[in-house]
Amino acid sequence: MNTGELSASERATAAAPCITCVWVSLALLAAVVASFVGLGIDYSGLFSADSLRSMGRFVAEFFPPDLSAAFVKKTAWAALQTLAVSALGTLLAVLLGAALALPAAGRFGSAARHATRLLLNLLRGVPELVWAALMVLAAGLGPFAGALALALHTSGVLGRLFSEALENTPRDAERALLDAGSGAAAAFAYGALPMVLPQWMSYTLYRWENNIRAAAVLGVVGAGGLGQLLSFHMGLFHMGKTATILGAMLLLVALVDSLSYVWRRWLTR
């Protein structure tokens, strides 16, 4: 919109309070209130001395964490496995997401665009845990099933983000290459890819960070790593061991978090 062309009265209307915003805020507020009322949660339990004591006892059981050398070694191994599962899942998702981003950005016509978008939504809409349950059937118990589940869900997310980045990039450079007689693949690789690559990289890192947390949960359905260890020991009420595993998760998330913090600092420098 070119504000220079607006007359004084038009500017006055533009500055008027936004009625739609008021309605939308009210609707959101109503949705929140309706949710709380509909669920009928009794939060008095949170503050009664009895249940606080029960919760406190539960948390106290976590201490002291089991720091025996053998178990710490086992936990460290599982943490490495979680790291590997998340990295592999993200890598596969980048490949699949990039492949789907091209049709989803409308490069192969409108029909392909709508079909791929629906596929991406389906990949994203199915929760990771459900994908994991299916992949355990397809690939057997183990970390590979977890990596596949992460890859399927994440490729839905990344494919969409990638295609949006691609659509928002000016196509001048690519068109210039095409006009100069280069092939379509070369024009994409040298004209479009360099422009979207930084954004794709930052989306990928962000998803990887998310996937480390997700990989830790996926273990619950038998997909290896910290999650499997966690659900095993928590199921047997080995609270000291559970605390060690939770500590490892905390360390892992802290590590990736500070890495991405440094990376972002470096990018926005």
Binding site: F36, L39, Y43, V126, V130, V253
Partner: protein
């Protein structure tokens, strides 16, 4: 042109960096593939293929009996309510912490004034608090909270609020820092308060992104209901759990279609909110 120059031109100047990058990638990738037990051929083993085929064949046709659809509708409403309540509580946690943590809103950072060290310590404390909140999986939070609240949606809602509060707070601060921070800085330098600098300096540029991220997290909270099924929180997760356990593929595929619909709903909400805030 003599032969030496021709050779020099033919040589790829990027050859050494490329070869190094490739080598490093292989060295890093190999142990990772071993650790993750990367065995794609397992997908095509006859036994696995048969199990998967039988299961997927069971997915068709989706169950559309009125009775199941009624159950599904009720579960969907419950899941939506849990996600909405969870995100609302998460916002109570995330907004103040993000406000504390955002570096571009720091007054003490601008000049060599008092409170520089205190400010930095506060920001670091908020960072670590948010980290601890989101590092523990929602399932573990839910299991702790079930002790206090009993089985039911209460523990699930609070667990969502805690983990998602941790994620939202961190991402809000990151969005606010990566948007254009010059207006906020100008306001702060001219002596405005932090709240005014946030509302007039940062929010106009970042509101769209903040809104769409919040909707995305809401969508994730809807999916997290699958995890919440474990603590008897009801909703789509519990329904899914039952259908999968009884290997009722038709019901499972109806539920998955519902998840797809909810994703489309979230996309629509996100797009309209962005338009509204533009």
């Amino acid at each position: 042109m003599n032969a030496a120059v021709a050779r020099a031109i033919e040589r790829d100047p990027q050859a050494l960096p490329r070869a190094t990058a490739l080598l490093v990638a292989v060295v890093v990738l190999w142990p990772m593939l071993v650790l993750a037990e990367f065995k794609p051929w397992a997908l095509f083993e006859a036994g696995n293929l048969r199990v998967m085929r039988d299961f997927l064949v069971g997915f068709l046709p989706p169950v559309t009996s009125a009775e199941f659809l009624g159950l599904l509708l009720k579960a969907t409403l419950q899941t939506l309510a849990m996600a909405t309540a969870g995100i609302a509580l998460a916002l109570l946690l995330a907004v103040p912490l993000a406000f504390v943590m955002t570096e571009s809103l720091s007054v003490s950072r601008i000049g060599p004034g008092r409170g520089r060290v205190l400010g930095r310590a506060l920001r670091a404390a908020a960072r670590w608090l948010l980290l601890a909140l989101r590092a523990v999986p929602e399932l573990v939070w839910a299991l702790v909270l079930v002790r206090a609240l009993g089985l039911g949606p209460g523990a699930g809602v609070l667990a969502i609020a805690i983990t998602y509060g941790g994620m939202l707070g961190k991402v809000y601060a990151e969005i606010l820092e990566s948007s254009d921070t010059r207006p906020a800085r100008a306001l702060l330098e001219a002596g405005s308060g932090r709240v005014a600098a946030l509302l007039y300096g940062l929010l106009p540029g970042a509101a769209q992104e903040l809104a769409s991220y919040t909707v995305y997290r809401w969508e994730c909270a809807v999916r997290a209901s699958v995890v919440m099924g474990f603590v008897g929180a009801g909703g789509l997760g519990q329904l899914m759990d039952q259908s999968m356990k009884m290997l009722n593929g038709g019901e499972a595929s109806t539920i998955l279609l519902m998840f797809l619909l909810l994703v489309l709903l979230a996309d629509f909400l996100s797009a309209s909110l962005r338009r509204l805030l533009a």
